[in-house]
């Protein structure tokens, strides 16, 4: 194993522990000492990899956002016609959230805290570029409304996160056909006509 991978491993251990602790206990009540213990590294090591606690949290946020973006385009939805591709993406998002409850709780906490001062910033990944291109094409084709990206997001994937949170909490348990219906509703909300 190379030095590079060892270093990566430590970072990953720290990320994993941070995610676990914060999703369980919240931003407040997640001391570095606890994260260190859970990671199996010393507090000092955390400060070797990250400038400070905020830096760690921001880095974790982007790591998760990037993983989410990748999951979004799984199964090549671009190949499908409207409105199927958008429903597909919606279901991908929901599936990611439900499969990654810790990540979901972390993301929502982050986005609703003053950590998130920036507006709607997306990772600069290949998948996001493809998604944006798809949206633009749909709008060019006159099938999707020309609404601000934030509005499109809240009417579609925004709904997916929150339903996923409810499902993670055990409050609801949507089956495949219910999900398909809801996905269709969300897509219809941004469709023209």
């Amino acid at each position: 194993m190379t030095d590079q991978t060892i270093e990566q491993d430590k970072q990953q251990l720290i990320f994993a522990a941070t995610l676990a602790v914060i999703s369980e206990r919240g931003f407040h009540d997640s001391p570095v000492s606890v994260i260190a213990k859970r990671s199996g590294v010393s507090p000092g090591t955390i400060y070797h990899y990250f400038e400070n606690k905020d830096d760690l949290i921001h880095a974790l946020f982007w790591k998760i956002e990037t993983a989410f973006a990748a999951a979004l385009m799984a199964g090549d939805p671009q190949a499908e016609p409207w409105p199927d591709h958008l429903e597909h993406i919606w279901l991908n998002a929901f599936a990611f959230y439900v499969a990654h409850p810790e990540e979901t709780l972390f993301l929502e906490q982050y986005k609703n805290s003053p950590y998130q001062k920036d507006a709607f910033i997306l990772p600069d990944s290949d998948e996001i570029h493809r998604l944006m291109a798809l949206i633009e094409a749909d709008q060019q084709n006159g099938v999707m409304q020309r609404l601000p990206i934030e509005v499109l997001h809240e009417l579609t994937l925004g709904v997916a996160v929150r339903l996923a949170k409810r499902q993670i909490a055990g409050a609801i348990d949507l089956d495949q056909s219910e999900l398909a219906n809801i996905a269709r509703s969300c897509v219809r909300a941004v469709a023209v006509g």
Copy 2:
């Protein structure tokens, strides 16, 4: 002025300061000492009115939720037919959020933190009772889908909060006709057929 009202006044001062500080700085980074200074009362006084900091925050949450519930049924939407009454309620919600940015930021932070361990709990107010009755009637009449209350919420008012947050942040600026369209979309998402 009676002692009762003086006491009420102090409580209100504390609530207002807590809301202002937390909406600006977040749950972490909102020390009692800062809240006290902003209230114009001493830390000791806060502990006279509230058992501890958590108690204060929970109490503030319920106060805001109750105010929100009241605003929801403003203009007597019950008197209107389906789907107008639901659109009306949606617009009431959006209007409340935009008119109360601090409250909105606080609520969303609270609901996405481990403070909120409870599932979907609503204030036990008259307005909420009327709202629930209205929903039940709509479902009896076969116009609204029989989905779990959490799902109905996320498809309708859940969207309203998040759009309001975007508007508060200055990212978007929806006019009346755009809002009416979105409200209609949300209602359609829970309508039968």
Copy 3:
């Protein structure tokens, strides 16, 4: 006892402990926790009276400098003729330093550390004003050289501190007549002719 004096007392306790600890152990190796224990107050209390550790140290410095300035003019040296008044002041300085070993060690450490970024700044006290007036008069009268204040200081009182430090350390033990001789030498070094 009034609140004012209680508060003063706590400050004085903290000052005394800081002085003792730093003169014994140096700037490095004088943790707030040790100062707190020595003061008989909690660390938190120190941060109630001082913004931070640097603030405490600067405040202590000025307190000592002011006390020193007062001691300098004891016995009304202005009333005496040249060069007696300057010899008197020199002996006052030496006596203060020897009588206040902790203060002396603290001052010298402070002045030789990057804490002291400012050049030769004197407390704005009555005594210092009288001293400066005296020097100016001596120069007007053509008995004292017109050298920069820093040079005058190093040739006179600067020598006093360092001899006092040697005496405090037990390396030397100057008697009254030796001291008088040295004082006279220092004064002659800044005299005209």
Copy 4:
């Protein structure tokens, strides 16, 4: 280049970096990690050449003191008669300090910190032996007062350091004739009669 000289080089790099960092930032606030980075070597390497941080600092002190002692006797002052030789030495000291500002700041910090527990100890170098012999001869010849070495030092070279520090700080700028005058004053302070 031999191994010996390589080793010497590393030591010199470490010494130079330590001197630079401490003279800029002070004893406190000069972490080994910073010194290592400035040296271009790793922290581990520093601990290869020095037992610990204190050891490094003490070694640096003696290195500088020795260099200073050598500079003191430059130009063969012994060959000159009293009081010229002492004035010459005084000017050598002043010139060294001004030419080596980092060394001067380091020395003064060191001598005023509890690092310096020892009394007046001089390097055991050839130059110091010659200097001591010269002093003894002057005293034998009845031209220099028989005062403790510490007193002689403070009245002469002690003044030189502190004036040099003022000049380094930019507070004063003494020209050659002013310096000659001051040197003469200092010598007169230890002269007989």
